[in-house]
Symmetry: none
Subunit: 222 residues, 2 copies
DNA sequence: GCTAGCCTGTCATCGAACTGAAAGGTCGCC
DNA sequence: GGCGACCTTTCAGTTCGATGACAGGCTAGC
């Protein structure tokens, strides 16, 4: 297990390195954000522990760089700022978890363990496919920068298809994610209707919804 | 995006449900740990928000149940206990994230968003043979990464042949596996027909269906 | 409070895909 | 050579999905 620590406070950095090595990890440490990016370019770390404030590039920037470049590294952010707005920004930038100083070292280790249990290859906050771009936070989709006018249900379905790309998504999953009440009584063809409407809005989007008979639907590029 | 809220404090529960619904999520709520497990059995939630202390079964128990049973749901734990040892126990039990009361609602939403960005857990093991790869959970087959368009019956037959590889599979077994309903329908040559069609789709797949005269069929590599 | 507009789910219809029966050809074994 | 097992193609019936039309519900704006 390889971990990158990026922290400018020397005392804290040494505590982290020492403690994590004692816990059995291989640890590299840097004290600048731009150095962190350099390291991330060349090694596939399992976890990166980033300080919020750092010389060079701040932790958030490092996190969003890693996200944009599809680095397989889980990111744990450290900060002294406890104000929720900041923390939100950190999480939305692509951090996987968050810890506020001062923190208990045992808890840090526990969170690192929790992170490495998670499957890797996390997707970017914004889903892109073809000429489409779906922002889950804003609940909106753009086609070549132009806003697409999707209904709520359509957006849920499209989001699901994009998240599961290129897998087949079955009707049950679609129904459960896009509607509230239903259990199994899908005696109607609502899904088909919504698919039809969604398809109509996706012409020329670089993306197509394919039917997999008997199984469900999946997205296809081009 | 579907969320389960398990919280016994009625006031907080209603705040959570209302707030999350306003944020665009589909929310179900229960006030007992055992009810939470029942819900998790039946629906594939994207995220479950669990209170630490609850009537019935505590949140940690629910989390570890979900982990043991490979539920695809990410778990966010809520607690009033701030002592790190407790928090560590929560994370190790299988929680994906953690929030201490009282918390800022905006932060809760941010954490939920961070959780849902992660890919879901792994499903059933994938069968590989030759250049073929069959995913039983998704009910799809890929040839060199490209999706093969098999009908339901063809897929069942192929799955059986792959699972039994390299043994011979007799016609009776094939019929029973691919048509759950019938018992003695072997009055026609349906199986032969399906085999023929399946073979046609398996050209150049690194795999061949061999006939064992008088016994059945088996798969052969290369 | 009313109206226009959008969203939703149901239905009917059309078309495409899948299925199984049948017919005729091929092959292996005696 | 004969026979039975197996292979392939064809064809029609059926199932499943796509789509346009419609009515009820909800909302925003007046």
């Amino acid at each position: 297990m390889r971990i990158l620590v990026a922290e400018d406070d020397r005392g804290l950095r040494e505590v982290l390195v020492q403690g994590l090595e004692d816990a059995g990890y291989l640890v590299d440490a840097v004290d600048r954000g731009d150095d962190a990016i350099e390291q991330l370019k060349f090694y596939e770390y399992d976890v990166a522990i980033l300080d919020w404030r750092m010389p060079g590039v701040p932790g958030v920037e490092v996190a969003s760089w890693a996200r944009r470049n599809d680095r397989p590294t889980a990111i744990l952010m450290l900060t002294a700022r406890d104000a929720p707005p900041d923390r939100i920004q950190g999480l939305d930038a692509g951090a996987d978890d968050y810890l506020v100083k001062p923190f208990d070292f045992g808890e840090l280790v526990a969170r690192v363990r929790a992170l490495q249990r998670r499957p890797r290859g996390v997707g970017a906050p914004v889903l892109n496919r073809g000429r489409l771009s779906l922002d889950p936070a804003r609940r909106q989709v753009t086609l070549n920068g132009k806003l697409l006018n999707l209904t709520t249900a359509e957006l849920y379905i499209l989001e699901l298809l994009m998240r599961r790309f290129p897998s087949v998504v079955d009707r049950k999953a679609i129904a459960e994610h896009a509607w509230r009440d239903e259990t199994e009584p899908l005696g109607s063809n609502v899904i088909d209707v919504k698919m039809s409407r969604l398809r109509a809005k996706l012409v020329n989007s670089g993306v197509r919804i394919l039917t997999v008979r008997g199984s469900g639907f999946r997205l296809e590029e081009a």
